[in-house]
């Protein structure tokens, strides 16, 4: 068996009901298989990133999706990737950061954590609160390559100016 062709498909556009169903139906009809994917609504847009296995070329894959993406008003991007399934890394730390929304929180916090050895596997953030008092909330799961204590020290420093951060070790239970 030859090595499967994996592509990363990115679609972004104004959210409306039926996007996932229409896009995935077109892929299925075209002979594609889906792998890992992340799909979510961000600021009224719907965003999809999907690993897609397809034996043809990138151009042919784009042509499969274009009738649907154009009719739904989605921008489409196709990349050939060298990835494969079953390459998960297990996080060993979970970090939650929240604070009054201001420019630079993410850069400051993730910069300090990166220096302290954090490898981010998953990051999701949201702005809650109100227009007048926006509250920034960020969840990170990752690997503490230099130990949890190093990350805690880094967080203690960045949280001095009004940002709240909590760190919890993750010890995955296999049962």
């Amino acid at each position: 068996m030859s090595k499967p062709n994996w592509y990363m498909l990115t679609l972004v556009g104004r959210d409306r009901p039926g996007i996932v169903a229409h896009v995935t139906h077109a892929l299925y009809e075209g002979g594609c298989n889906l792998g890992e994917a992340s799909m979510m609504r961000l600021g009224g847009n719907f965003t999809m990133m999907m690993m897609v296995r397809y034996e043809g070329a990138a151009r042919a894959l784009a042509e499969l999706v274009e009738p649907v993406s154009e009719s739904l008003g989605l921008r489409l991007h196709v990349d050939r990737i060298s990835g494969a399934l079953h390459h998960h890394l297990e996080p060993d730390v979970r970090i939650t950061v929240s604070g009054a929304d201001r420019a630079g929180i993410v850069a400051q916090v993730t910069g300090a954590l990166a220096e302290a050895g954090l490898n981010i596997l998953n990051l999701e953030s949201d702005v809650a609160g109100s227009e007048d008092e926006p509250l920034y909330i960020m969840h990170i799961e990752g690997q503490a390559t230099e130990g949890i204590e190093a990350l805690q020290s880094a967080l203690d420093i960045v949280t001095r100016n009004g940002v709240k951060a909590s760190l919890a070790p993750m010890d995955t239970l296999i049962g």
């Binding site: 979510m40 079953h86 998960h88 297990e90 996080p91 979970r94 939650t96 929240s98 998953n122 999701e124 949201d126 909330i137 969840h139 799961e141 919890a168 993750m170 010890d171 995955t172 239970l173 296999i174 049962g175």
Partner: protein
């Protein structure tokens, strides 16, 4: 002794409800030995339920002793286990021999009391907390046909859930 085959989801037998053990004989003891050997052979496994090897009897084995700084009772065979008390809750990461290559966050009670029989049929009451309590809840779920997949919480909305339960 033998390493038994582990059922993997979506095998429908993982959704069955296991029946209480009523006979404490050599057949049961031989099965428990095999079940434990199967658990020890599973990569990283710290617990197993009879359901996972296709035997619908209420038997689980747990052993949290591999974890540092975690309160535990060592290796335990719990037969017909019942959780009689729950307290607190915590989010933790779980995986399962029956769901290879996937892990997810699950909310479990932080402290529990478990009544169970041992291999000889004698009743014991165990107070468990943290990792060991989570482990017992994960395995007892198997006896009721539940997988951790049935209890996953969204990573994105973890914080909101916490607020609601606080």
């Amino acid at each position: 002794m033998a390493i038994l085959d582990i059922l993997t989801w979506p095998d429908p037998r993982l959704k069955e409800t296991a029946q209480p053990v009523t006979t404490f004989d050599e057949t049961l003891h031989a099965f428990i030995k095999d079940l434990e050997e199967t658990m020890r052979a599973g990569p990283g496994a710290v617990g197993i339920a009879a359901t996972q090897v296709g035997s619908l009897q209420r038997v689980i084995i747990i052993d949290a002793s591999s974890r540092k700084n975690v309160p535990h009772h060592g290796r335990q065979v719990l037969i017909n286990p019942e959780i009689t008390h729950w307290e607190g809750y915590a989010v933790g990461r779980e995986g399962c021999l029956s769901v290879p290559d996937y892990t997810g966050n699950v909310i479990r009670a932080e402290r529990i009391t478990v009544e169970a029989l041992d291999e000889a049929g004698a009743t014991h009451t165990w107070r468990m907390e943290g990792f060991e309590a989570r482990l017992a809840q994960h395995e007892i779920d198997h006896l009721d046909g539940l997988l951790f997949l049935d209890r996953l919480v969204s990573r994105r909305h973890d914080l909101y859930r916490r607020k609601r339960y606080d």
